[in-house]
């Protein structure tokens, strides 16, 4: 999302107190643990009401979800449904649930505005299912805001994969 678009969205509240890298790292480490433990309801609470979960197509990693086809372009309603589906009993691609383990590192603040902060981090997510091992490598580019209880939340949660194709991974059925 371009900076000018972010400015147009009404703030949840101002980024007060100012955000530090340490706080962002805490937040991302906490988030990774929730996902690895499949505590998806708790994870969903970290997505702001105007939040989006995005994964660009692998041949166009820098594209805009409004003009290019992504692999995932969920608004808050779709993220909520995704979580409900994954916790339900008929998401066959995640039955049984994959085991995942995430390493989130190299956290940097890219841009800080009055009410949002844009951060990046590297990730490597190992996924184990049906005796196959897949590794998803890339970087996050997130736009974070402060939620009602002053904790950080995602306004935009973007996972940009370095993979050239999803081969042999085949699917992005868990939350990356």
């Amino acid at each position: 999302m371009a900076t000018q678009d972010l400015a147009r969205v009404a703030p949840v509240r101002s980024l007060d107190p100012a955000v530090t890298r340490a706080e962002i790292e805490e937040f991302l480490i906490h988030e990774a643990a929730l996902l690895d433990e499949w505590k998806l309801d708790e994870w969903l609470a970290l997505v702001a009401e105007d939040g989006r979960y995005l994964i660009p197509s692998l041949d166009t990693p820098d594209s805009d979800h409004r003009t290019a086809l992504f692999l995932i372009s969920d608004d808050r309603r779709n993220v909520a449904s995704r979580v409900k589906q994954l916790l339900g009993r008929t998401s066959w691609a995640e039955t049984p649930h994959s085991r995942t383990r995430r390493l989130v590192t190299n956290v940097r603040i890219l841009e800080q505005a009055e009410d949002w902060v844009k951060v990046t981090a590297n990730f490597a997510v190992w996924r184990f299912q049906h005796e196959a091992t897949d590794c998803y490598v890339g970087r996050y580019i997130h736009v974070l805001v402060r939620g009602p209880s002053s904790g950080l939340m995602f306004r935009e949660r973007r996972a940009v994969l370095d993979l050239e194709t999803l081969r042999p991974h085949g699917k992005l059925s868990f939350i990356l």
Binding site: P56, S57, R66, L69, I72, S73, A93, R167, L172
Partner: protein, 432 residues
């Protein structure tokens, strides 16, 4: 040419209405060798859409039918498809996935070619004898290339019939897949390149299988649609069997149902009504009705699927009996508003692709079949007999898959003339 014994791979008992596939057809590396030789090397294969190389100098590279190819648009605007291998010593000439260039240069010895394939530069060319003809050393075109309304198909069989004749009855439905927006179509930026650890023929079956939808995609119909305020009754209710499965001849096949509500039909009702009105103006009410009021999964033999609910183009190719590469794109109207484009993409992604709410479950299902085939000796047959006794099989039946398999079986046995693909033969063929 040596032929492996294939007779027992299909049971096609039209009298009793039983159709079975021997699971070895999904697992045997020798079968795959024959498939490459008798099917993929002798049919028309979808390669690209002209919109991907719209401007002079544009190129894309990909694998089609197992070969690396370069699709280009030359300086005069004409599309070409070349084998991506240097005529000199074999290196890939173009290593980029896509781009724009005046010339393509093989880095190995710096031979360069223009986008019509002509050899431009050979360093130290004076070392060659007069018998070395530069004009013979350009990029090698694929044996055949034809463009049907922007869809570029290639064949590695120089003697194959024309593309139009090959498409046969499928042409009419391919036209609907192109005409639906009342406008020219283009491939949307952003490709879905993924894979399945499954035999490619499982994806042929799955891509036009109405029967699996409610169980495999339960979460889409019973969780996602209600979550966005839609009633799944049109999908899950009694009306679901209203569609039909059709053999189009030549192994091409289709399932077709009256148009159904999707996230798009609710989010873009006004725009879609306006497009329908334009279609009536342009094509008349009957044709507009056939274009706009049905949903279709159209299969073009051997490995191309177009699905109208999301307007996807999907092709796939086996690297091993138990592994295929899949490439899928969105084919949308060029001049849709940005809002409608986004609604179409959201609709597409809610169901399709590695991150959609449906495709991953198909991947899992097909991979599960493949793993299950390890029991092949004890459980040798898969059944696709549904609807064989019916006058008009429905979209929940399996005629469309039998149509594929009958053509597959004919080609695997080297019978390249017309095949009898329907349950009730349209014509009896002397050759069969």
């Amino acid at each position: 040419m040596e032929k492996i014994e294939l007779k027992e791979f299909i049971i096609d008992d039209r009298g009793n209405g039983i159709f079975r596939i021997n699971r070895q057809a999904f697992t045997d590396p020798e079968i795959l060798d024959v498939e490459r030789r008798e099917i993929f090397d002798r049919t028309w294969l979808y390669a690209a859409h002209v919109s991907e190389v719209a401007k002079p100098g544009a190129f894309v590279t990909r694998r089609v039918g197992g070969r690396p190819v370069i699709v280009t648009c030359d300086a005069s605007g004409k599309p070409h498809v070349f084998l991506n291998s240097c005529p000199h010593r074999g290196n890939l000439v173009c290593l980029e996935k896509s781009g724009s260039a005046r010339a393509l240069t093989c880095f190995y010895h710096a031979w360069s070619f223009d986008l019509s394939g002509k050899l431009l530069g050979v360093p130290d060319a004076e070392a060659y004898t007069p018998a070395f003809k530069r004009e013979e050393m350009g990029l090698k075109s694929v044996p055949r290339m034809e463009n049907y309304r922007g869809m570029i198909f290639i064949s590695y069989d120089a003697g194959i019939e024309s593309l139009e004749s090959y498409l046969g009855n499928a042409r009419e439905y391919l036209d609907y897949m192109i005409d639906f927006g009342g406008d020219e179509v283009e491939i949307v930026q952003g490709a879905q390149a993924y894979s399945m650890k499954a035999n490619w023929k499982l994806l042929v079956e799955n891509s036009m299988d109405g029967y699996h939808a409610l169980s495999t995609h339960h979460r889409y119909f019973h969780q996602y649609l209600p979550d966005i305020g839609m009633d799944p009754a049109a999908w899950a209710g009694a009306n679901r069997t209203m569609g039909r499965g059709v053999s189009l001849g030549g192994g091409h096949a289709m399932v077709e149902s009256p148009q159904r509500p999707t996230p798009l039909t609710s989010s873009a009702k006004v725009e879609l009504d306006a497009i329908r009105a334009r279609l009536v103006e342009k094509h008349g009410p009957d044709r507009a009705h056939r274009i706009a009021d049905y949903t279709r999964n159209l299969f073009i033999f051997p490995n191309l699927i177009l699905i109208s609910l999301w307007h996807t183009v999907r092709t796939f190719y086996p690297l091993r009996p138990d592994y295929m590469e899949v490439d899928a794109w969105a084919l949308f109207p060029k001049n849709d508003s940005q809002q409608l484009r986004q609604k179409r993409m959201d609709n597409f992604l809610s169901f399709l692709g590695p991150g959609g709410f449906a495709t991953p479950d198909d991947v899992s299902g097909l991979e599960g079949c493949q793993r299950g085939f390890a029991t092949m000796r004890e459980l040798p047959w898969s059944d696709i007999s549904r609807g064989m006794g019916r006058e008009e099989p429905s979209s929940q039946d399996e005629l469309q898959m039998r149509a594929f398999w009958r053509r597959w079986d004919a080609l695997m046995h080297g019978r390249r003339g017309p095949s009898d693909c329907a349950d009730r033969p349209e014509r009896r063929l002397a050759a069969e």
